[in-house]
Amino acid sequence: MRIILMLIKKEFLQVFRNPLLLSILVVAPLVEFMIFPFCADYEIKVLDIAFIDNDRSQVSRDIINKFNASGIFVPHGLLESKEKADAMMKHDRIDILIEFPHNFEQDLYNRQNTRIAITANAINSVKAGIGTGYAQEIIGGYMQDFAIANGSGSMQAMAAQLQAQQAAAQQQRKGSKTTSIQSDSPIMAEQAASIDISNVYWYNEQMNYKNLIVPGILVILVTLIGCYVTALNLVREKEIGTIEQVNVTPIKRWQFLLGKMIPFWLLGMVEFIAGLLIMKFVFGISVQGSIPLLLGITAIYLLVMLGLGFFISSVSENQLQSMFIVLFLFIVFVLLSGVFTPTEGMPEWAHKINYLNPMSFYIEVIKKIILKGSEFVSVQKETIVLSIMAVLINTGAILSYREASK
């Protein structure tokens, strides 16, 4: 017991004397929390738009005014030619181009099918997707008003149902980086009642992206402290030879590893709790579920990461090697885990790989408990998997450490 306490004391002395490590521990979470959630935002707030109006009618002008008044689109005026529009899109001056055909208004009144072309710059696929979505919504909204205003007779049948058949013909233009999505929106005259769709986003009612990003940052923080710092620390002892001096003493392997684990486990927990406080008081996201449950599962996840860190340090010769291994694993973990990108679209094999990815289980737990307020029952599976991982990886770490020292 005295030995383990001494090992822990030594570790803390070293951490607090290492200005670089200390600043990583303090500054990293602050920077990640204070900057990242404000930047990483999938919400599109500004879209540059231009119009080609071949009709120059009351209806087309009304629709353009709707766009201009939306607050999302920044209008870049009416363009005379398609060539001009192409050039502007090529130079990233506009994101969306709306083109009204000849006789647009006339066709509408005559209950003819007509089409509006929406062209989007799909270099930024999120922007293009959301931009066309907004555009369809505005046109659809107008069409509905139009149908009601011209309610008598056959006109009332006209619902502005813009079919979401985004038959997106993606054409790559030679020599330019612009890809465009052509969206044809036939207006069907024979449609009867209109359907009003209202969305409710459960567990994140304002669809606030910070609610998704901030828990992700918590996960990254815990992973970094658990895996990175431990891997670097142990391999450093190898590098400067102190591990040899410790190995000739009669202390047991488990004592040594425990003396390493407890300090970094504590540091990880402190960082996590600090992260929770920042989340609550800066971003106003409070944990919906049980905090002890959250801490408990985090404790297990930290054990997995500590074990992984030890394993990496025992198979690498120096800090540089271990850093590369951690970095590689870290990127794979983050990209596969669904911390920032949804996993649903991933192919089957990626899902299978994810069964080995502790981060994907942990992010599930974090999202469920923090945002959804889940009980233990719904995170049971993840908890069991993480516990098994913790046991396996730490056994591996102890075994590989034994090999390295004997």
């Binding site: 030995i3 030594k10 400067i240 102190t242 001096q245 000739v248 003493t249 009669p250 020292s405």
Partner: protein, 308 residues
Amino acid sequence: MSAICIENVSKSYGGKVKAVRDVTFSVEEGEVFGLVGPDGAGKSTLFNILTTLLLPDSGNIKMLGMDVIDDYKAVRQIIGYLPGTFSLYPDLSVQENLDFFAVMYKSSIAENMSIIEPIWKQISPFKDRKAGKLSGGMKQKLALCCALIHCPKVLFLDEPTTGVDPVSRKEFWDILKSIRKHGITVVVSTPYMDEATRCDRIAMIQEGKIIGINTPATFIENFKGKLYTFKSEDIFSLLNAMESCPLDCNYYPYGEHCHIAFYDDIATALPQFEKFLSDNNLQHDEIRAIAPSVEDCFIEIVQRDFSH
């Protein structure tokens, strides 16, 4: 009773490099035993095996009756080890390092003050300084303190004076002398042959093999050749010319001098050699007879294959 009995110990790395080949020797209790050999001779490998850090491929080692391989936990309690490179925590202070290793050995500084006192007196003025900020000699003294903190029965010192200034080297050997008073067996390796004379017995090691074990005095007594020394301006030409020397002799540069050992009758060999030098137009000063050093003995054993 022998403190350490080493029998037929071999170790190879990856099956190719044979670092230690069939080494057998024993170290008596309370003696200062030196392991002498050039870099790469296998000294550190042997040390790592003896200090339980490395498993040998074959062979047995008994340390005070305990098996080093099977009973390594118990062995670790009775040995002290000073590795070849400075291996203390550079970001901990002198005092903290010492406290740390005292606890690791379930000991305390006060308990074994009598042993470390002569060293502690020298480093205690710096006890709050970080170990990494100490001078080379001070670092070694601190490392020695840490290796002695649990009053070991056997102390292993792997090249303790490599890279240490001559004054500190002398001090270090004086400290080792004082340690002996506590009945501690000391095993020390060094590439410096002049230091070897300060050991009770030395084992010469070359390419992983022990090529001779004896007291330094006996090694010198057993020197077979007649050793002479002289100075020459042009050592390079001399070395080339010696290729064609008809005498049975052993020639090598020794510092700024040249050493030559003759194995023929000296009455005829010396005049022959002087004639050989003048025939080859090689300048030299007076050729004087000298007593061999341990290094001369080592070179004789290696070059003339006198190993047993």
